[in-house]
Each structure stands twice: as C-alpha cells, then as structure tokens.
Amino acid sequence: MRGIRDWAPEFDEYRRDESRTMGEASSISFPTDEAELRAVLAELERTAPDAPITVQGARTGLAAGAVPHGGHVLNLSRMNRYLGLRRDEGGAFHLRVQPGVVLAELRRLLAAKALPQAGWDAASLAALDALYGGPAQFFPTDPTETSACVGGMAACNASGARSYRYGPMRPHVSALRVVLADGDVLDLRRGEHRAHGRTLELVTEGGRALALDVPGYTMPRTKNASGYYAEDDMDAVDLFIGSDGTLGIISELELVLSPEPCVTWGINCFFASEAAALDFVSAARPRLSCAAALEYFDGSALGILRSARSGCAAFVSLPAVPESFAACVFVELECDDEGRAYDELECTGELMRSVGGSEKDSWVARTDVDRERQRLFRHAVPESVNMLIDRRRRTAPAITKLGSDMSVPDERLHDVVALYRRTLAEAGLESATWGHIGNNHLHVNVLPRDERDYAAGKELFRSWAREVTAMGGAVSAEHGVGKIKRDFLLAMYGSDAIDEMARLKVALDPRGRLGRGNLFDEARLDAAVAAMRKGE
C-alpha cells in the first residue's frame, strides 16, 4: 500500500488525532522511504497539483496538526527504519532514523542494545560497537505519550518532564532531511547552514537557491513551541523543528543520544497548600543542581486520583494519598553517584521544611519497582481526568477536556498561578492542574460539566493567552500550535508577525499546500500565496 489510495471508510481513523478533532481528506498514502514519499508528491503534482497535503506520524498530537483539511494525507508511520549511527569528535552518538520511528520502541531497543542494523554501512556498525561497548545511552526527550513518533515530536518540538534538564526536542536533533512540497530535498546538518542575521540562504539537492526571510519577532525566553523559531544567525535545522508540518516533510532525522544517568531517584513531595508548593519550586530551582524534572499536581488532581484509585483496578497498586496532602511536586534527580544523590535528597528535605512542609510527607523511589509506581501515579492523574470527562460526555456529548499549554518566565510563576485561580473561580469552573512546574509550564485542565462550562473555558483560555503573552510567556510550550491554537498565536505575536510566518511558508511551499490550517488560518495563507504570485 505504498501509492496513493482513494479515501475509504477503512481510513477514517486517519481523519483525527489525539486532539479529538476530525478532518476530511480524499486520498492517503503510506510511503516507506524517501523515494516513495517523493513519488507520491510527484503523482499528486500530476493529478491534484493544488491539493492540500497533511503530514501525519503517530497522530498523538494534541493540537490537531495532523488532522487533514481536505486533499491528501501523507502518513509516515511506515517510514520507521533505523538507518545508521555515527560518533562525533566529542564522543557523542548520532542515530539516523526515519520519522515514523516510535519513541517507546527507540527507548526499548537502545536499552536492550538491540537496534536493527539491516543495511548499515561499515562506519555505522563500527559506531554501534562503540555504543554498545560504552556506558548506556538514551534519548532524553520524554513526552508523556511514548507512542509518539520522532518525526512528529520534531514537528511540534515536543518536550516532557525531563525538559527541565534537557530542554525540548530541538537540541537533540543534529540533522534533518526535509522534502519540500515540490519534491526537492534539503539536507541540513546542524552548524552547516546558518542565517546571516535574519536571512537564511539554502540550496536544495536539485540545485535551487532559496533566500528565506526569517520573521523579525523576538521569541519569549521561556519553554516555547509557538510558531516558527526565529532568531538572528539561527541554524536552518531549528527552523524546521517546531514548524508543525507547514514548511517541509521530515524524511530523516539524526538524533543525539545522551549518556544514561548513573543514579536516578524520584521524590514526590507533598504539601498542605499550593502556596507552599510554589515556594518550594522557587527555592528548589537554584539549589537542586541534579534535578532533571520538577512536576506538579494540584489538590484537584490528587482528589480525582483518590476517587479513581478506589474505583479502578488498574490504579489499586497506587499508594493512598492522604486527604491532608493538597499539592504535590515531583522531583527527579539524576546524579553521577549515590553520595551526590543523597546530598540532593537531604537538600530537598531541607527545602520542604523551609516552606513549612515535612520531609515525612514524601515518597522516595530508589528502585525500579518504586520508580514504576511513581510513573503509574504520574500517568494515572491525566488518565483519571480523562475517565471523568468520558463519564460527563454521556450527558453532554459536545464537551471535551480543555487543557492549557502555556509557559511564563521563572519570576512570573506565582503571578500566573494567581491568574489561573482567580479567573477559574470567577467563571465558576472546575479544573485540575498538573505539569512541568520547573519550566513554569502548567497544564490547567478545565473540566466542563456542560456546554456552558465548555464555552466559558474556551473564552478563559483566550484571555489567558493575552495575559501570558503580557508576562513574557508562550501560548504553547510543548504541544505546538496546530489548528486549535491559531488564535492564541495571533494574540502572542500579532497580525504582522503571523503574516511574516505565512510569507516564509510560501517561500518554501509556493502553493500553500503543506499542513494547511496549521499556525495560521487559510485565508491568511491564501493571501500570502496570491501576494507571492503577484510578485509583491
């Protein structure tokens, strides 16, 4: 099934992703390598030259980036081979993969030292010997959804809990091959193609010279997955990471592996109030040098988990969370040795005491068994909320969970939480909040009881987009903008900046076919296409 297939009911699941929104398409393809992918594009050029093309991976995205807006669905889940390995002068390993490689499988194969080597050249096999002969390596980007594929993770600049230490996906990608809408290819290795100021000059493998104007806006100094990466003298690789499938189709990636930490300990720190938890985070950031993750669960989230624990067999192995625990900060420590980990643990206890907490109110995981239970706890929270919403949908089918994805600078953490609490109370909305508090990046989940709550929640998010922007934050910190956060992006950067993005897109995709509806609305995109045709 490598060519173009007309749409049929059997493909209907490819009309949606984890955002739970539904699109339309008239054809679909499942290429298995770059040559097949380019053949699909050539065939579309011949048969449907103006058809929109929506790129899909594992469809685990939460912003509807992979939901088609008509035309063709280019599903890359079968481009899932491991292509080779190199070791750079500094000793770092770079694994070359196709975009459909799934994160969970990548982790498993790396841990088991069982990467498929079919077709690898001698240099790759030599690098593999060095990889397996040395200290264990891993890929650090860790979105909660491990069935995500690496191409999709790059397309939305995914991150996850450990982004507190490792940052998002972007710095862990050292090279990309990008197929443009016309089938030509850009082969980009980090460090080799840099902009001069805000002008990026690239040459395709077909010999075409491109001069791209990088948008002039200033990105927020926070965790950010909102719109195109734009910075003076930026690397071309960074432009395509986080571009939501609008600039080109990633056909290969080189992933930078990192050494596995020698000691990993997890600590759930419980507090009697949210204020104490926030103070703990502010105090912990400069003190805990080995923290890889600082995650948060508010009182509502813990309450929902308590209810789910008593009603769901899957959660019965979770420890009971006492009623007196009103907030939880999860700290993951990664250290070179146990002595260092113990020092950091002591420091964590001291920090708990300094904000009025008790170091008795903590769960420490130092073994695989305990770490697995902590992982279950962290996953059970969103799962419990999804179960709650599913129950409510029986009487109000139009509602869904509304989850925010905004970040602010460190010094605005208390302010943004105060904003969330005040406005949620004013609107009379139920919520549960969790997420990456180390990066001031909380997922506030409005839990609508009915359609009125749902509409009020959406309105609240629009107001937060404005307020978070005013605090110097980002409207999307890790999920990407996709189709459902376009209004937030507009609030964050303003109309002129969005037009700059649209012009950049059209310079690479002159008919505006790739990822239509992502980042900006189609009218704005069509205006940019028309303007370019007129030679404006």
């Binding site: 759930n268 002591e346 206890g349 073994t367 068994v369």
Partner: protein
C-alpha cells in the same frame, strides 16, 4: 508486640539469564531487590505497627536476612520504610544452604532477638519458588503457621485473624500468637520510604552476625547442613509445534475433543 520479617535479596531484573552449561541463574552483579513477597510481608508488619500505635500499644518490627554483606543496604532500605531494627546473617559458612539450612540459620538469628510474637515471611521467593521457608520456620520455632495470607482482618495481642488462599477459595482463620505467617504477593504494596525515613536509616545500626556469632552448629549450616540433592537442573526444551484446527465450529469442537481424549 514484637514482629520479625524475614526478607531475601533477589535479582532485580525480570529477565533472568541462565548459564547454559551449569543451568544456574547468572547473577551478574545487577542490583538486588527485596523479594516482592517479602515486601508485602513487611508492609503487613508496618500496618500492624501503625494500627497498634493508634491504640497506644508498642510494636517493634525487625527485618532479618541471610545473605551476602551487600544485603545490608537492602535492610537499611527496609528501615527507611519503617522497620525499627535490622539483623543480617552473613558468613561464607551459610553459602549453599537449602531451605532446611536457611531455616536453621534464620531460627538462630531469631534466637538472638527478643522472642517474637509474630514472624512474617513472603509466601515464596521469586528466584527459588519453594514456599518452604515459612512453614519450616514455624516447625523449627514450634509455633503455628498460616501460609498464603492474602489479608489481615484483625490484630490482637493474643491472636491474629487472617484470610489465606486455599484450593477453591479463601479461608478465614484465627491464629494464636506466637505464630508464623507467610504472605501472598498482592496482600499489600510496600510503602515508599520518605526523605525523613532515609535520613534516619543512614544512621541506623544494622547488626551483622556470623554463623559462630549467632551460635549456629556448623554441621547444620550452608552446604553441609543441606540434605537437598540437586541431581540435575535443566532448561525445558521448547517445543513450538502447533496444530491448526479448521472447519466450522462443530468440526473444530470435535477435533479438540479428540485431541483431549488422545492426551488422556
């Protein structure tokens, strides 16, 4: 109440490798963990301690293990989770012990402690699978034993009431103290250690006794005290033959019945 919990260090990996020549487990120095059944036993002990504390009754939980010196860190972890004291029996003289010699060593260790009201063991160990230590220990101590305890219903100073797994269901039994209970894996989930617990455990004393220090008779410990003779151990041959049964439901049912008859 005085409770002793017997714990064993077992390989941490779920993917145990076998040596193809000796057919013994390859213990490649990977991290050892507390046997999951023993972890459940420890949690049961700590719950009894919590309950008695509310009632104002004193309770002391001691963890006991026979193992290599590195087992001390495992016992310290048990203290971090709430045990009050730890005793490790560690000596080359204990090496190669079967269940009888292990039971003898543990009973020598228990004899060095104040006489316990309750001894808790995991029902079995995930690496040995014998399920013999608890009942043998009860025999050695001359006290009753309830094996395969799935739940603790009531705790008194003279008796405990437990639910235990039996063929075809569960039995509720009252066991007079002192007694030995062996605990099923799913009876309880061992609590996490807290930061406070870990800090306290770092300074806690873990007593380590040799065979002679705990007064063990050399003829009854280790290999010398183990009557079990392992004639041969082997990895069962994997037979991956399958039979595909086709036809409609009635024909398939007949074919299955014939196969079962042939196997009878």
């Amino acid at each position: 109440m005085r409770i002793v919990v017997c714990v064993k260090a077992v390989p941490g990996s779920t993917e145990v490798k076998m040596d193809p020549k000796t057919n013994t487990i390859v213990r490649d120095g990977g991290a050892a963990v507390i046997n999951p059944f023993d972890a459940a036993a420890l949690e049961i002990a700590l719950r009894i301690k919590d309950k008695l504390a509310i009632e104002g009754e004193p309770c002391r939980v001691t963890v006991l293990s026979m193992g290599i010196p590195a087992t001390e860190s495992l016992l310290r972890d048990c203290v971090a989770r709430g045990a009050d004291a730890a005793l490790l029996l560690s000596d080359r003289a204990f090496a190669g012990a079967d269940t009888l010699a292990t039971t003898y060593a543990l009973s020598c260790g228990i004899a060095r402690l104040e006489e316990p009201d309750l001894v808790l063991c995991g029902k079995m160990a995930v690496d040995g699978d014998t399920a013999q230590i608890g009942p043998e220990l009860a025999g050695s101590l001359g006290v009753p034993c309830a094996a395969g305890v799935a739940a603790l219903d009531a705790v008194g100073l003279r008796a405990v009431t437990v639910e235990r797994e039996v063929d075809g269901g569960m039995a509720t039994v009252e066991v007079p103290l002192p007694a030995v209970l062996t605990v099923a894996k799913d009876a309880a989930q061992l609590r996490f250690a807290s930061i406070a617990g870990i800090r306290a455990a770092e300074g806690a004393r873990v007593d380590v006794l040799t065979a002679s220090a705990c007064g063990a008779d050399a003829a009854r410990t280790g290999l010398a005290g183990s009557p079990t003779q392992v004639v041969r151990s082997f990895v069962p041959e994997r037979i991956e033959r399958g039979v595909t049964i086709e036809g409609d439901a009635a024909a398939q049912a007949r074919a299955v019945a014939e196969l079962l008859e042939a196997m009878a």
